[in-house]
């Protein structure tokens, strides 16, 4: 195993976010492993989504949004002036909770990001499409199948297609935002198998409200509450022997009790 595979490639240092002077994230430190799944769990409003959207710079910026700290990808600060936004988003892929297909065929969808990058070599482009579709389990040798409208796919397959669309750009890290939220259990299992396959070759940061899913899929867990990292560690350790009472309360479903 090379040193590059062992070293975390995405590192977050002392990341703080304030929106309209209200703290959303406070001094977050975390490392996304070079391979494997890091699950981010926490109650609603804990800052999970804001964290994820900061990582690939899709959070809307404005005069009321203040970001401090560093997000380093292979040592490069993603918020430095010389980082091109397109390149950042290609290197840190992001898949949304609800699958929205682009107009066109299955192949068109997977090729979308490559076309933006002007990958002119047809063979190279087809190879990337094939590799991405194989990883998510949607590949078929039948060309006519790939030329079907993406709208024809089931919801589960659509989410797999959305993952393939991102994988075609060969991101260093894949961010998954509650990607099974709107799927039935069978489709959820397929997407989970896909996530494990993806995590064999790159780091995956996964937000989920499904604690059982986090326990099933992830290698490491970060528990976020009120914008702070409360606890992080190996999944088995956090779920079976959490160090802090706050984490134990959340895992036991006791967080927020007494507020109603």
């Amino acid at each position: 195993m090379s040193q590059r595979q062992l070293t975390p490639r995405l590192v977050v240092r002392a990341l703080s976010l304030r929106v309209a002077d209200a703290p959303v994230l406070q001094g977050v430190h975390l490392e996304v492993p070079a391979r494997g799944v890091l699950a981010v769990i926490g109650p609603a409003g804990s800052g999970k989504t804001a964290l994820l959207r900061l990582l690939n710079r899709t959070l809307a910026r404005g005069p009321t949004v203040q970001v401090e700290g560093q997000i380093l990808l292979d040592g490069d600060d993603l918020y430095s002036e010389r980082q091109r936004l397109r390149r950042v988003r290609q290197r840190v892929g992001h898949v949304f909770p609800d699958p929205v297909p682009f107009p066109g065929t299955i192949a068109d969808n997977v090729a979308y990001g490559l076309a933006l990058d002007r990958v002119a070599d047809r063979t190279q482009r087809d190879l990337k499409i094939e590799r991405a579709l194989k990883t998510v389990g949607l590949w078929t040798r039948d060309r006519a199948e790939l030329m079907r409208p993406a709208d024809d796919l089931s919801r589960g397959d659509l989410q797999l297609l959305c993952i393939a669309r991102t994988l075609a750009l060969d991101p260093v890290v894949l961010l998954l935002e509650n990607v099974t939220r709107s799927l039935d259990p069978v489709a959820t299992r397929r997407v989970e198998r896909c996530i494990r396959a993806v995590a064999e070759h790159r780091g995956v940061l996964m937000l989920t409200h499904d604690l059982a899913q986090a326990a099933r899929l992830s290698d490491e867990v970060v528990y976020l509450e009120d914008g702070r990292v409360i606890e992080q560690g190996a999944t088995a350790q956090v779920f079976t022997h959490p160090r802090l009472q706050q984490t134990e309360d959340f895992l036991a479903g006791r967080t927020g009790e007494g507020l109603a």
């Binding site: 690939n56 899709t58 404005g62 936004l85 397109r86 390149r87 988003r89 290609q90 892929g93 992001h94 949304f96 609800d98 929205v100 682009f102 107009p103 979308y112 990001g113 076309a115 933006l116 990058d117 959305c162 669309r165 991102t166 750009l169």
Partner: protein, 177 residues
């Protein structure tokens, strides 16, 4: 020459301004203010265009009068139609394309506009037809008005005052709150 350009360019100007405001300008104070002006103008009665037709016609340019009335009526309507057509497209398309590295303009050009095109075409054709229909009688009325003006100037003054008052009232009543 300017008048002819105005006639020819009103449609692309209206569509372009609509795209710019609906999809590319951040939702800040400027966009809100522009939205209020466009909403008011797009719902304004043709009397406003009638004033323009009369005013420019007085300067002696019939083509100019036509072009002003045309632009005044059509451009705000097209801006509103673009807004409506884009609002019916899944907003997720834009966000997902940008997450793959597309710029807002690339996302708009490659995904959102093609998805909005059928609805936008229908609305734009309706706007052009409606404007043409409203402009024709205005031209006739303004031609008659011009003839009257040359003999009794006070009639024109009273007519202008009445039209301004009626139009301001109509705009206030029809503008979205």
């Amino acid at each position: 020459m300017i008048e002819v350009l105005l006639l020819l360019l009103s449609v692309p100007i209206g569509l372009g301004a609509g795209l710019y405001f609906a999809a590319l300008v951040p939702e800040d104070g400027l966009r809100h203010q522009a939205g209020v002006v466009v909403a008011g103008l797009s719902e304004a009665s043709p009397a406003l265009a009638g004033l323009a037709v009369l005013g420019v016609g007085l300067q002696g340019s019939q083509v100019g009068a036509l072009a002003c009335g045309w632009a005044l009526l059509l451009v705000p309507r097209l801006v509103r139609s673009v807004e409506r057509a884009l609002a019916e497209v899944d907003p997720g398309l834009q966000a997902r394309a940008e997450a793959l590295g597309a710029t807002p303009w690339e996302a708009l050009r490659t995904l959102v506009l093609p998805a909005a095109a059928p609805r936008l075409t229908g609305l734009a054709v309706r706007d052009v037809a409606r404007t043409l229909g409203e402009l024709a009688p205005l031209l006739v009325i303004s031609a008659a008005g011009l003839a009257l003006l040359q003999t009794h100037a006070w009639v024109a003054g009273a007519a202008v005052a009445w039209v301004v008052a009626a139009n301001v009232l109509a705009t206030l009543l029809e503008a979205p709150r």
